[in-house]
Amino acid sequence: MQRKQRLTRSTAYFIPYTLWILLFVIAPVLLLIYQSFFNIDGQFTFANYQTYFASSTYLMMTVNSVWYAFLITLATLLISYPTAYLLNETKHPQLWLLLIIMPTWINLLLKAYAFIGIFSQAGIANQFLSFIGIGPKQLLFTNFSFIFVAAYIQIPFMVLPIYNSISELKPSYINASRDLGATNWQTFSRVIFPLTLPGVKAGIQAVFIPSLSLFMLTRLIGGNKVITLGTAIEEHFLTTMNWGMGSTIGVVLIVAMVIIMWLTGGRKPRSRKGLTK
């Protein structure tokens, strides 16, 4: 008891962290919201929001951005779930996992740059397409290449949380399911998948939100054909210098993020019938 009192009395060590929260977590978000109510000349206005919600360009861009983020997330999930599942059955899962994570230690820009070479007109991908008789295609600066590269970059972030939830799955659940007569598929669809859903949700969170804002990929790989919310923000802040409009889109992105968090959040998966603890 006494020790606790002594420790809480000296809270000086907690000051830097508290300052960080105030200055770098709370203040910037408030400033961003504040800024969204100013036009390019520094006057207070609601015009940014009016423009945003009245303009089909902005709305289409938002829908597009969400749609591409969805496609990227879906592609990543379809590749990552089996990977995580098979990883768990290998003899040295930790080692394999390390190998999966390793590419994330290579700078994202370098990986994007690699694809500029791979997907270029005379690049290795087109050489392969010619070899199998399809003939060279325009690969770089297409929607496909944007989705492909984005999914490529995000795979490890999806595999990791799914693997964690699969490895935490008690083997007795699987035995119990088999014991009660479930086939392999039934065991997967009725036991394994529902129980690893938290990992899947965490993975979706980790992939979907960044996918809304991958402006460097839209520029380097997508050739500005795909404009994501992130691209628009970057453009408004660093090119047209219209910070107010950029902040407005930023607020929309934050709202989108909150919705995703809420949909995939850590709420109890089932609390129906009004039963609470």
Binding site: R3, P28, L32, L98, N107, L110, Y113, I118, L220, S247
Partner: protein, 269 residues
């Protein structure tokens, strides 16, 4: 049974090939004569020679390292103290609020962090450059340090602290001789994560860097926008080596900490 097992391995191998092919591709062409990544034109070190002769790039590389090391050190310090503070909060509401605030920067998209920091620095009239980049890197590295250190502190439990206090340790001794040695693996993990966050960051830096100061990521971005330049491939080779060293270092620290745990448990048992 056996054939199915092969299919499984095949799938895993395929994923690995896809994950590593672009990286290997980059490095292979860093040794190619010529100027494109389309056909290998025979071995050369020339791109590495260009790289080491490029004093601008070397300076940027050193700046990037400096930012990474400084920001990780400071973030680790602040984050560790923060984790201790969070652990010491008694009211569950306060604790969960602090944790929620801590995680905001973890889940926010980079553009939001970059844009809001840019507004913040401008509002405070902090000049854009080395200082703003350093502050930003410290800021976005702190939460990961907290998340790495906090479980270690919680794992420690109170009986260890009570025992030390019972044996007459004062607060400072408690911190320096009991708590910090115990949570050291967590601190190391936090430091390494902060280091990778910093080295890996592009978007936030891109927003707050201004005109005079550049990090490697930003430099790669602007060069990549101009097209293929095999000097960047040579740079990838070096970065890959650096990443490898970091991964191996991280792996051994993890190994060490788990062995350390085992040893502790063994001694207890």
């Amino acid at each position: 049974m056996k054939t199915r097992f092969k299919w499984r391995n095949l799938y895993l191998w395929l994923v690995f090939i896809i994950l590593y092919a672009p990286i290997i591709f980059l490095i292979v062409y860093s040794f190619s004569q010529g100027t494109t990544m389309n056909n290998f034109h025979g071995f050369t070190w020339s791109h590495y020679q260009d790289l080491f002769a490029d004093s601008r790039l070397i300076a940027i590389f050193l700046d990037t390292l400096l930012i990474a090391l400084l920001s990780s050190l400071l973030a680790t310090t602040i984050g560790t103290l923060g984790a201790l503070g969070i652990n010491n909060t008694t009211r569950p509401v306060t604790k969960s609020t602090l944790l929620a605030l801590n995680n905001i920067l973890m889940v926010s998209p980079d553009v939001i962090i970059g844009a809001s920091f840019l507004i913040f620095f401008t509002a405070l009239k902090i000049p854009l450059g080395f200082g703003s980049v350093l502050l930003s890197h410290i800021a976005f590295s702190i939460p990961i340090v907290v998340l790495m250190v906090l479980p270690k502190i919680q794992e420690m439990g109170t009986s260890l602290l009570d025992a030390a206090a019972d044996l007459g340790a004062n607060n400072w001794q408690l911190l320096s001789q009991v708590i910090v040695p115990y949570i050291m693996p967590g601190i190391f993990s936090g430091f390494f994560m902060a280091l990778t966050y910093s080295l890996d960051d592009f978007a936030v830096t891109f927003f707050v860097t201004g005109n005079g100061f550049t990090t490697l990521s930003v430099e790669i971005y602007s060069r990549a926008r101009q097209g293929i330049n095999l000097e960047i491939n040579a740079l990838s080779g070096l970065m890959f080596l650096l990443a490898l060293v970091l991964v191996i270092g991280y792996y051994f620290i993890n190994q060490y900490s788990s062995q350390h745990r085992k040893a502790v448990r063994g001694r207890r048992g």
